[in-house]
């Protein structure tokens, strides 16, 4: 049951990153690829029907953690206190800017909210990347399982640890680059004309950058993170490599929809691979003996059992609803 919940959390993370990833990436891009008001509207209309629903998967992650591993939720959220609120505020500004942009035809008004939308969309992948980097590097957990983590100390992954050091920053830049690519592919598949051409250009330029950062992150993780290379993780790594090659091929053939699917597979394989390589550790400590495993943090068997029933039911129902909406729109 603990393994099932570990998998559910990992699945929720993958779905969230793949789905909200494209609208975050598209948001981060839209100042650069969409020049006229009509083009910007086209970007917003492409992601408009989805972003709200996509964001709800973030709640699903928090929900799954709350049901199954409440002490991990407590330690991680309070440990990354300031970063969590930056995430919340960026999400808030993002939602409001989408709502507000269309309320006036005034150019300055629209320019203001376009900028807010772009800045908040770009900051979220960075913050999520930082969080991922911290999970891989490990938290300075104290014996009570709590952690105090300032935003930064001396920018090295060695103690005293801060949220931002060169390693977590590298992961954050990778997150921003790969989601920008993801967003560019989504927009290319849903728009046309000059906008589509520019998205293709961005994607073509982003591709080598993402590859370089990916290799750098992998190499750095070899030193900083302690991962177990089990068979499943290796399979997923291979799947990520294949997916990356597929992005390259599909982009050259201008089959943007297929390239977007490949990019989704790339992101999901990476994350699932990390989850597989970290199991059973949920909250890694700088001192590995203090790490919290899924077994340590799990809720009572009854809570996991009844929780799994309705959570799985909900996941299937919602998943079906989402698949139907995305298929209908294509």
């Amino acid at each position: 049951m603990v393994e099932l919940w570990y998998a559910l959390v990992a699945i929720a993370v993958c779905v969230y990153v793949v789905l909200d990833g494209f609208d975050l990436g598209a948001g981060a891009l839209h100042l650069f690829v969409a020049r006229t008001d009509a083009e910007r509207r086209a970007v917003l209309e492409a992601i408009g029907p989805y972003w709200d629903g996509n964001e709800v998967w973030l709640l699903a992650i928090a929900g799954a953690l709350f049901v199954a591993f409440p002490s991990v939720l407590a330690a991680a959220f309070s440990g990354m206190y300031l970063a969590m609120f930056l995430v919340l505020w960026a999400l808030a500004f993002r939602g409001v800017s989408l709502e507000l942009r269309g309320q006036s035809k005034n150019e300055l008004w629209r320019a203001l909210w376009d900028f807010v939308f772009c800045a908040s969309s770009a900051s979220l992948p960075v913050l999520f990347g930082l969080a991922l980097g911290n999970l891989l590097r490990g938290f300075p957990l104290d014996p009570s399982g709590m952690v105090v983590l300032p935003l930064f100390v001396d920018f090295t992954p060695a103690p005293p640890t801060g949220l931002i050091d060169w390693y977590t920053l590298l992961v954050a830049v990778f997150a921003l680059a790969s989601l920008t690519l993801h967003g560019a592919l989504f927009l290319a598949s849903r728009t046309g004309g000059d906008l589509q051409k520019r998205c293709k250009r961005v994607a073509t330029l982003a591709l080598p950058v993402v590859l370089a950062l990916w290799i750098a992150c992998g190499a750095a993780s070899g030193f900083v993170a302690r991962l177990t290379l089990r068979p499943l993780a290796i399979v997923l790594l291979a799947s990520a490599m294949a997916a990356f090659a597929a992005i390259f091929v599909m982009l050259r053939r201008e089959r943007f929809g297929a390239a977007f699917v490949a990019s989704s597979t790339f992101l999901a394989s990476n994350l699932a691979g990390l989850a597989a390589a970290s199991f059973p550790t949920l909250l890694r400590a700088v001192d590995d003996r203090a790490s919290v495993t899924a077994y340590d943090a799990a809720s009572s068997p009854h809570a996991l059992g009844v929780g799994a029933v309705w959570f799985l039911f909900g996941l299937l129902a919602v998943g079906a609803l989402f698949v139907r909406r995305y298929l209908r729109a294509t």
């Binding site: 709200d52 929900g63 709350f66 709590m146 952690v147 959570f311």
Partner: protein, 434 residues
């Protein structure tokens, strides 16, 4: 001010009170919208949907921090009670939130047919009320914990069914939903009165006044009886010190009265300048005039609510405004039946400016519930001071509290601007959204 607890509490209270401005209207309008769609009154429904959608968006944006603060600010509460409240809070995210955001997307971003609009309106109604149920159920567990067991310093889920069918939860959710309907009704009536007085959209104004006053009278009556009455009886049975503090009652005795006016003087342990209705409290709480209602003096001070004054005023503000609202709506319905409402400028003015009253009463009601539960975060099980995150210091919390103040000031201005524009444009206007 090294005490982080104060800032944790202030931040949660501020963000919660602010958040609740929005969902009380969406929950109150949702069934009205479904009804209007069902009756094919599309013009009015489209107009109200625009106001609904703005409120909904702000509700989502301000609601997300509420869920996250359980982890960030109340880590010890989450770690020790997550086994139970994690279930209900996650259910809210899973079922209610998903349904709502998906169907709102349908309404706002596609060009739906009338039939799709009806389906979306019904889905939003179900979704928003389900949200209320799961949130209130989590809250009811904090007020009156059921269905749990203890295991090694943690609370564990023993019976999810008991948590979901807790009597306290059902009474509370009924009270909260009817109170939200009151807000919806007062807003409808105020819009109707505004258009009637401005001599614009007069046929819609009539309809809004009719809907608002009828729903307003029924709902504001139901807030008091049976839902509020049942809620108070539960407090009397399970939270005796809270009841005593709500009434500013320090000494025990039978024929306990209800205080209409008075100022609690906690250091002297008495109520200054009281005007009371004798026997009414005994009767309302226990059904007989002679029942002894225990005063605060009978309880050790460490189980007294910490802020007796604010608790007392919140409760009296809620009850006083509740009574006033029944009066206003009663008068309006009476005049409407006599076909005089639309010509009675005084009453229309009254309805137009009365819309803040239910917002204040709803807020005061939640303050009563929260302050009455103190000093407990989980009644009788865990104290509030043991619930906060031990690793987050006051510097961090004050930083985010100040951040919320600035952010929410901005949001408030934007909200008023957006809703104001829609109201000025009125029913039938082209949607400002492009």
């Amino acid at each position: 001010m090294g005490d982080a607890l104060l800032w944790h509490r202030l931040q949660f209270a501020f963000t919660a009170v602010y958040h609740y401005v929005f969902p009380q209207l969406t929950m109150g309008l949702a069934p009205v919208l479904a009804w209007l769609r069902f009756r094919r009154e599309e013009k009015l429904a489209d107009f109200l949907t625009r106001i609904f959608a703005i409120n909904f968006a702000f509700g989502v944006v301000t609601g997300l921090p509420m869920e996250f603060q359980f982890g960030t600010n109340w880590a010890r509460f989450s770690a020790s009670a997550g086994d139970i409240v994690g279930q209900t809070l996650a259910m809210e995210g899973m079922f209610a939130f998903f349904v709502e955001s998906v169907f709102l997307g349908v309404l706002l971003w596609s060009k739906p047919t009338a039939r799709q609009k009806l389906v979306a309106a019904v889905a939003l109604w179900i979704g928003s009320w389900l949200s209320a149920f799961f949130i209130v159920d989590s809250h009811a567990f904090m007020e009156h914990p059921v269905g749990f067991a203890r295991s090694g310093g943690k609370l564990v889920l023993a019976d999810l069914g008991a948590v979901l069918t807790s009597f306290w939860a059902w009474v509370e959710v009924a009270h909260v939903l009817v109170a939200a309907l009151v807000t919806g009704a007062f807003v409808l009536a105020a819009l109707g009165a505004f258009y009637m007085l401005s001599k614009r959209h007069e046929s819609e104004a009539k309809r809004l006044l009719g809907l608002g006053t009828t729903l307003g009278l029924v709902a504001s009556f139901a807030v008091a009886f049976p839902t509020g009455d049942q809620q108070a009886k539960l407090v009397a049975r399970h939270q005796e010190p809270a009841l005593a503090a709500m009434e500013g009652r320090f000494e025990s005795g039978s024929m306990a009265g209800i205080t209409l006016i008075g100022q609690p003087n906690v250091p002297k342990r008495r109520l200054d300048n009281p005007i009371r209705v004798p026997g009414a409290l005994s009767f309302l709480a226990y059904g007989t005039f002679h029942k002894n209602v225990r005063g605060l003096a009978e309880f050790p001070e460490d189980v007294w609510p910490e802020n007796i004054e604010l608790l007392y005023y919140s409760f009296h503000l809620m009850a006083g405004l509740g009574t006033l609202m029944i009066g206003i709506m009663g008068l309006a319905v009476l005049q409407r039946l006599r076909k005089r409402l639309e010509r009675s400028r005084m009453l229309l003015w009254g309805l137009m400016i009365a819309f803040p009253l239910p917002y204040i009463a709803n807020t005061a009601g939640w303050l009563t519930a929260e302050l009455g539960r103190q000093p407990w975060v989980l009644y009788g099980l865990m104290r509030t001071r043991d619930a906060a995150s031990p690793n987050v210091h006051s510097g961090d919390v004050l930083f985010t509290l100040i951040g919320f103040c600035g952010l929410y000031l901005l949001f408030g201005l934007v909200f008023v601007f957006l809703v104001g524009r829609q109201i000025l444009a009125g029913p039938g206007a082209e949607e400002a959204h492009d």
